[in-house]
């Protein structure tokens, strides 16, 4: 590497356009497009008895109205179950437009297309849909009772029963010196990107081709889905993710009904059509995550070492299961975290409710798993009167135990084998960073001010970078520009910068010469998508391999020109030179020109590659057999299995016993994602994740009433934190490179959010001495906990009271 940018905090290249208002987000496209609006179900569970569009027909500017009756062929079939699984025994998906029944408030029933959005909404509100209401199921407990069914033919509401075990847990529990059993809950939040979803479609009737822009995390698969559903040839469909205003998981789901209906309308009408989701639509018409009921039994010895763990969880998957059981699987398999659990059994029952679908939100089941495991550690510590850090330390997988096989099957169908890590190292750093031994002094100081202070910690291991693959294409032009493309998409993670750093480092070119394109099927049609902290691992490595291919070819051509061995060549600042021989050099851009033998000189540079300009060996064809014109290379990275990043967080809370307001006064993060491409970007990811972790612990929840109405479907009522709610975060790093990929990197995107709920629950419990078994928790709920004489107190509280009295 001659241009060493890998590992440097390079400022982001995408910012230049974004800070001056020249980003190009979905709703910035198609100024003259027709606008779509949707009539959505106001009921959580109902039969549709009639749709009367008469009143809408005289609205000036109305162009078209579509109901289920207008859907034909594959469009009239249910939406795909994207990730089938043998244990998903009763999958259900909706239709692009409701087919006689609605199963959650917000389900699309009618699409209206008009000259602009105002007019489309005018028409939509004049459409009268009559419903016959059905009994509503809200929450895991209502679902598992089976009193009412979301889908008539699934009376127990169970979509899947996901089950894994690593041994005879009953026997191991029976043989354990001690056991503990408890039940806890975690509630729903949602990704809530500042930009909602959106789709713009343009049909070219002359060449029968479709271009779709979608605010998606998976443009290649959206393309395939549109082609399949609209019965188009794949090559006639191109899908582009433009600048995307945040994703966090919700935009990995596809095809959303709107992603099919908007292109369908564009084709039928022969005009551009656009739909940009509004905030209320996003609350009730996209996806949420996190609600689970967890029943946990743990066996352990007198030293707090776990001997067996038995978890039975109920996971609320909402009305449908388009994304399969990925979230339950991730909870089940990531729950074990950094700990050696001799015998583990987990059952997650995924149940239907009449609410918005549940699909991955940053963390994607990991926060729930971490909450289960880490609160178990806290309870063991409490029972045995051990320091919470010490209990964890005694159960950690040791640094010399890698690769560590948990004998579980991960979300990608591959074994959960941890590749590398140093968990005792993380814990030691965390204790130092938050001054764990100093908490008692801080507690006393806070008490002197009338405040309750407590600390909590949580550790996690995060499977990152799952396959099946990503690809990269690197091409050097005669101008010296280096074009880089990968099919994976970006939603603010700085991929243009990180991938450019990788190419600049691998190829030895100035980063200013590198141009990166992501998520455009015209540029790279094979891809999986951005999820599971996989972009740097997957596309980063694929692009590195592609750049190495270009480098190899460039050195081969240059070696012929310079009459040197490729082994003696190096590339520095875009120039290939002979090591130790100043002056013997050729610019990479010239090699790019020479790599493509030409007949026609279309510009000055091209003259060098024409047939009478370059000396050639008459005994060989201009393009050597097996070679190809151009200085470019395409390569793929397909991992044997996921990498496993890890980390440890600590939260210190201060609680005001007058208002029960909970203030996070310190938040410490130790983070290990292997080799780091850009530490500035990684820290930014951690900051953002922590904010969402704090949000999910203290502020955000989806407040459904018993009728399945989302009571807080706006930013006024859903408490997404402002700056005032987010604590300062201190970060320390550890790097255990992954042995699985060429760059040694692990993913970083989701890490920050995972332990937030667990650590903050622990801190509140530590501060108040009351068992915290339902999260998130508001000041009002904490007040109810505190004034309830029956609410469980921790053993530590009793000891503290005994000592302090």
């Amino acid at each position: 590497m001659t241009t060493k940018l890998f590992g440097e905090p390079v400022r982001r290249r995408e910012d230049a356009r974004l800070i001056v208002g020249r980003g190009r987000y979905l709703d910035d496209i198609g100024a003259h497009a027709l606008a779509a609006a949707f009539v959505r179900s106001p009921h959580a569970h109902a039969r549709i008895t009639d749709i009367d569009v008469e009143g809408a027909l005289d609205v000036d500017g109305l162009v078209a109205i579509y109901t289920y009756e207008d859907l034909t062929g594959p469009m009239a079939e249910p939406l795909p179950v994207l990730i089938p699984h043998p244990q998903l025994h009763a999958p259900r998906t909706g239709y692009p437009l409701a087919n006689g029944e609605v199963n959650h408030v917000g389900e699309p029933v009618v699409m209206v297309v008009a000259t602009d959005r105002y007019v489309a909404e005018d028409a939509a509100e004049r459409i009268v849909v009559r419903y016959e209401e059905l009994p509503v199921v809200v929450g895991v407990d209502a679902a598992r009772s089976g009193e009412h069914a979301v889908h008539e033919e699934i009376p127990d509401n169970v979509a899947a029963r996901h089950h894994q075990e690593t041994g005879d847990v009953e026997a191991a529990l029976a043989a354990s010196a001690r056991t503990l059993s408890f039940t806890q809950y975690i509630e729903r939040s949602a990704c809530m990107p500042l930009e909602g979803k959106g789709v713009h479609a343009r049909w070219d009737p002359a060449d029968a081709s479709l271009r779709v822009y979608s605010s998606t995390q998976a443009s290649t698969s959206v393309r395939a889905a549109i082609a399949a559903k609209l019965e188009l040839s794949l090559e006639d469909v191109e899908v582009i993710a433009p600048d995307v205003g945040g994703g966090f998981g919700v935009k990995i789901v596809h095809p959303w009904p709107e992603e099919l209906l908007v292109p369908m309308a564009a084709i039928k009408l022969g005009q551009e059509v656009k739909w940009a989701e509004d905030r209320r639509e996003h609350f009730i018409g996209s996806a949420h995550e996190r609600q689970q009921r967890q029943e946990i039994t743990v066996g352990f010895d007198d030293d707090g070492r776990i001997t067996a763990l038995d978890v039975h969880a109920w996971h609320d998957n909402g009305a449908y299961t388009p994304y399969g059981i990925i979230v339950p699987i991730v909870t089940a398999t990531q729950l074990v975290g950094p700990y050696a659990i001799p015998v583990y059994r987990v059952v997650v029952e995924s149940v239907y409710t009449n609410t918005v679908i549940v699909t991955p939100y940053r963390g994607a089941g990991r926060p729930q798993g971490c909450y289960a495991m880490e609160r178990t550690m806290d309870r063991i510590a409490d029972l045995l009167d051990l320091d919470r850090a010490e209990v964890r330390r005694r159960n950690l997988i040791q640094a010399d135990q890698f690769p560590y096989d948990h004998h579980l099957t991960f979300q990608d169908g591959r074994p959960v084998i941890y590749d590398s890590g140093d968990y005792p190292g993380l814990l030691a750093k965390l204790e130092a960073l938050v001054d764990w031994p100093g908490i008692e002094a801080r507690r006393a100081e806070a008490a002197s001010r009338g405040k309750l202070l407590g600390a909590g910690m949580a550790m996690y291991v995060e499977g990152t970078g799952p396959g099946p693959y990503e690809g990269g294409h690197v091409q050097v032009l005669g101008s010296g520009k280096v074009l880089v493309a990968t099919g994976l998409t970006s939603q603010g993670q700085g991929h243009e910068t990180s991938f450019a750093q990788i190419v600049a480092s691998e190829l030895g070119v100035p980063i200013e010469d590198v141009e990166v394109t992501t998520g455009d099927t015209r540029r790279f049609p094979y891809a999986v998508g951005t999820f599971a902290s996989r972009a740097a691992v997957m596309s980063g490595n694929a692009i590195a391999l592609a750049a190495r291919g270009v480098r190899e070819k460039a050195l081969r051509i240059a070696a012929e020109v310079l009459e040197a061995s490729p082994d003696d060549l190096e590339i520095e600042d875009g120039v290939i030179g002979v090591r130790g021989t100043p002056g013997a050099s050729i610019p990479l851009r010239t090699v790019a020109v020479l790599s493509n033998p030409l007949r026609y000189a279309f510009d000055e540079a091209a003259k060098q590659a024409t047939q009478f300009a370059r000396g050639s060996d008459d005994s060989k064809p201009p393009v050597t057999p097996g070679d190809a014109p151009g200085l470019e290379h395409r390569d793929y990275y397909s991992p044997i299995r996921s990498t496993f990043a890890s980390g440890a967080h600590a939260a210190v809370v201060e609680i005001d016993p007058a208002t029960w307001e909970i203030d996070v006064v310190s938040y410490a993060v130790v983070h290990d994602c292997g080799n780091v491409v850009n530490p500035m970007i990684v820290e930014g990811q951690v900051h953002g994740g922590v904010a969402q972790g704090v949000a999910g612990a203290l502020y955000e929840r989806m407040a459904y009433d018993a009728d399945g109405q989302l009571q807080n479907a706006s930013f006024m009522d859903f408490l997404m934190p402002y700056a005032s709610e987010i604590p300062d975060v201190v970060i320390d790093h550890q790097q255990t490179p992954s042995p699985l990929n060429p760059l040694g990197i692990k993913g970083a995107g989701e890490a920050g959010v995972i332990p937030g709920t667990a650590a903050i629950a622990s801190a509140i419990e530590d501060a108040t001495g009351r068992r915290i078994a339902a999260m998130p928790i508001s000041p009002t709920e904490l007040y109810d906990v505190m004034r309830s004489p029956d609410h469980e107190r921790t053993a530590a509280a009793g000891r503290r009271a005994g000592v302090g009295a």
């Binding site: 709703d27 100024a31 900051h687 006024m716 975060v729």
Partner: protein
Amino acid sequence: MTSVDTERSITVTVNGVPREATLPVRRLLSDALRHDLGLTGTHVGCEHGVCGACTVLVDGQPMRSCLVLAVQVDGASVTTVEGLARDDHQGGQVLHPVQETFRECHALQCGFCTPGFLVTIAAGLEARDKAAEITEEEVDEIVGGNLCRCTGYANIKKAVRHAAAAMRPTGADHTGHFGGGDGAW
């Protein structure tokens, strides 16, 4: 639904340029800027005035353009994110200090909320005593009304501190990385 009765012609100075438009009276300022005038830098995140992504300056005051009708700003001067930079009188532009510090401090990720933050912060920094060192309370006050889902706000607050330092008049005692501001913003 649109007719002579429900439309008005308005004249608004947008980013220093007089613009005329004939619009339905119900058109939101955010939609008028984005869809009628083609200034798509202003973003719409919630349409109910909470997130602040659509913030623009109306006669120098930050306003949520999703809560203002376009006809209400007839005769006014509007500044959007596209108008924050100033001409360098050599055919190029000089970014506002807070635009510079947002990039320098990694204060944006997806960039969707960024225009609203930039406009709000620019107004906030303009309204304060530029010679005084900015306090944490001031920083919190300036950024406290805008939502960001990506950054966790830490780097946004850092960018505000650095921009304030850059905007201190030359000669003032400061230690900010972006010193040397002429206070002319």
